[in-house]
Symmetry: C2
Subunit: 200 residues, 2 copies
């Protein structure tokens, strides 16, 4: 029994955060109350604003509070002619951090999964087709996850690109850099053999 | 670079939670935006209410939004004549979960630490003395942490209790149940020898 119903309510609600169980929720609540009430208030405001104002970019479907996101609006990126297709907005973050890609993105917000009722429309492929027709991309890079569904989605999108005569590629799958052959699973090792590159 | 300043702001503010680094904050923000916006809004409301309305009980200094907390208000607990002194509100939770203590509490909100300017007044010992005079406790149990500061604080409070002719005790320190002697540190083992009990 908590001595305060409001405190109990806060602990319960903190558990909606991923990876937060009853013990961590309690620790977080006490920490904020004892040491950082202004931090707690700022967090509440940031949450309210983000949850109510953040929508999706009308071009790439990434999270943004504007009509079109910063990346889509960037003229240098518009001129690159490259489009990278990812499953989730968090994937964009991971790719941006590498600094290797200077084109634009398209976020599926999931992958094809007919059994769950998620077909091409649900992952926005009609919008993607419209962009392929209206804009001049010279390459589409498929960066969906290396899972059965991610691969199926990549194949489906590759066919659409072929129909529009646009070059399409899939990111490489193989041994992670710094990994050891001995500890890598068989499927990854098979991929790394199939995807081998000639040394000139 | 995040595509959305509001998202960036949310990720930054989530880091005020203990144990949440940049990666977890990002994961939390994306999880809420993608799967649980209503949960995020509820959390924001719970945070605002808790941070603005929760104060301290006028008797025991535990967190509560009332003048006097549930535990202090409970007549059965008032009749027990037992008072347990703890450092933090979270300690009360831990003790309540054992179901072994049916008296009331007093929360110091810290421990004596003269070098940091934390003296008897700062940890509410004037209020504690007032309670010892006005109410009829027949035992005070000192459950401060087994640290140098916690021990010093316990000794200080024990002297106050002796002045008021109230029986005072300290919770036992020794080998944790389920622990192994071999892996326990020397100080704990010393305590467990000093605190040995005769078997009748």
């Amino acid at each position: 029994m908590q001595s305060s119903p409001l405190l109990e309510h806060l602990i319960e609600n903190l558990r909606c955060l991923p990876g937060v169980g009853p013990k961590s929720a309690q620790r977080m609540a006490y920490h904020l109350l004892q040491r950082n009430r202004s931090g707690g208030m700022n967090l509440a405001r940031a949450l309210t604003e983000a949850m109510s104002k953040i929508g999706h970019c009308s071009q790439c479907r990434d999270f943004t509070e504007e009509e079109v996101c910063n990346i889509c609006n960037n003229p240098r990126r518009q001129n690159s002619g490259l489009l990278c297709v990812v499953e989730m907005p968090a994937d964009i973050q991971a790719i941006e951090q590498t600094g290797q890609f200077s084109g634009r993105y398209f976020v599926l917000m999931g992958h094809l999964s007919p059994l769950d009722g998620i077909g091409p429309r649900e992952i926005g492929l009609d919008l993607l087709q419209k962009r392929l027709v209206e804009e001049s991309f010279h390459e589409v890079i498929l960066a969906t996850n290396p899972t059965v569904e991610g691969d199926a989605t990549a194949n489906y999108i590759a066919e659409i690109c072929h129909l529009h005569n646009i070059k399409v590629s899939r990111i490489a799958h193989g041994i992670p850099v710094g990994g050891e052959l001995e500890t890598v699973d068989g499927t990854t090792l098979t991929h790394s053999f199939l995807g081998r590159r000639q040394i000139d």
